[in-house]
Amino acid sequence: MKVRKRMHILKRFILSLVVILLTACASTKDLYKDPKMDFGSIYTVAIMPFSNLSKEQVAADRVRDVFMTTLLAQGDVYVLPQGEVARGIAMVGIMNPLAPSKDEMIKFGGVVKVDAVITGVIREYGEVRSGSASANVISLSLQMTEVQTGKVVLSLSSTHGGIGFTDRLFGGGGEPMNVITEKTVKDAVNKIFK
């Protein structure tokens, strides 16, 4: 009887341990890629103006520029110049270029002759404070829409910076904004071509 009870406790313990270990293995998913999409067929992309949810006024423009250069530097796709994107937006008459509708994207793709359109949101950009510690942070999310069907084929987010252990311990303000912008954008581009 005693042995049976002990075995029962042991079983419970092992089960809890397995549950804990499985939880530790879980990862936060910040990338969606349409498994049916052939990303090799995307040759030219247009980057729409990014939506800015941060306090910094030029954050969206800044990150869009860096993203455009980094994406071009990757060498796999050609990125339409921003002036050409603006011309396309005006020609199609997109009401809200930050979040165009499916039909607008399809029409836009036909006018400027691109294979995909990238929209983005800057969720956070600038300095964050917690008590006496401060550091720079950037968080952005991107979506790629294929213009023939108007379907979202890729969605990702990337965050860098923020107050870490060393910032709390020693201060210093974290990494410069330019450095973490570069890191975040490179991370996002790497995720696209992963």
Binding site: T44, V58, R62, L72, Y78, P81, G83, E84
Partner: protein, 385 residues
Amino acid sequence: MALVIACVICGTACSTLTRPAIEAAPGGGNKLRFAVLPMVNMSGQRAPLKEMRQSLMRGLVAEGRVIFDDEDMERFMVRHRMRYMGGIDIVTAQALRKEAGVDAVLITTLEQYADTRPPAIALTARLVATGDMPIILWMETVGMSGEDVPGLLGLGLINDIARLQVKAFARLTGSLAKFLAGGTGAESGRSDRRFKPKTFYSSSFIRPGRKYTIAVAPFLNRSERNDADDFLALHVISQLTKVGIFEVIDPGAVREKLLFFRFVMQEGLSIRQADLIHNSLQADFILTGKVMEYQDVGGTPQVEFNVLVFERKNKKIVWTSWSANKGDDGVFFFDRGWIRTAAAIASKMTQAVVRDMAARGAIQDGQLPEEKSSPRGPWQLDRVD
């Protein structure tokens, strides 16, 4: 009839080929007759512009240069209703050559003038050839602060703006004299690693030994500093003239075309607009960009910008880069290497961009540029709007 047509064709060809840059050989620089345009003040501060211009002209006369008479220049400006002094358009360049017999025009821009302790001054001067196409022959930018070289116990500090001004003008006139004495104005050497672009894309677009014509379209200004777009464009132009590959068309001529075509560039140049500028100015490339940050007053100076180059042949981007730096980047001990003016940082950053562009854009032996650099897909086709 055939003879007449042939003459007309030849005449047209000659008018495009006889570039003033070719006519005005650097060796014959001492015989050049040039006009000095009134200084343009973009510093946002009051500055003794007339005195500065007179001082510059005195310096040039003392070196034996032939300067177009000031009163005659004023009469010419009234006759041609010249209001814009920041550049020279094609019509004015032709009139200056034909009517006034002026070979080149010296255009000076004041970027920063801080009569404080320590003072700071930043100037840009360029010599533009008159004639059929206003090509920049020589250009120099100078950015100085009174505490650039503090020296031992602060003995090297300059607290008087007049002294700094003399020093800045001496550097400008010295560089001009060197060019007129037979120099090419080209500079070589390695750019400071600290100021290299953070991210860039380059395709192979420069054939070795060939010279290209480039037009610099206005930059977009997203910074809080007024006229930062103009400063940065001037810094880029200055570096383009020094790299020895490009013949740079004066921004005044580009401005004239933009006004003529009534372009509104809220987000930058579109391909159609770039095409029109390419064709009207016979430029091989158009360079444009965006200034995100240009902080030259208070605190550590900071500059951030991106540059974009369009190619005429393929109607595509051949270079794009993003640069961001602060005056204290890479400074660890005793403020050594600290740069105190935004103009000096911008100069170093643009130098790094242009030199990188010239080096990485060069077509290597055996490289097929079309295959290497062309984007895939429909972009290769001529677009019909």
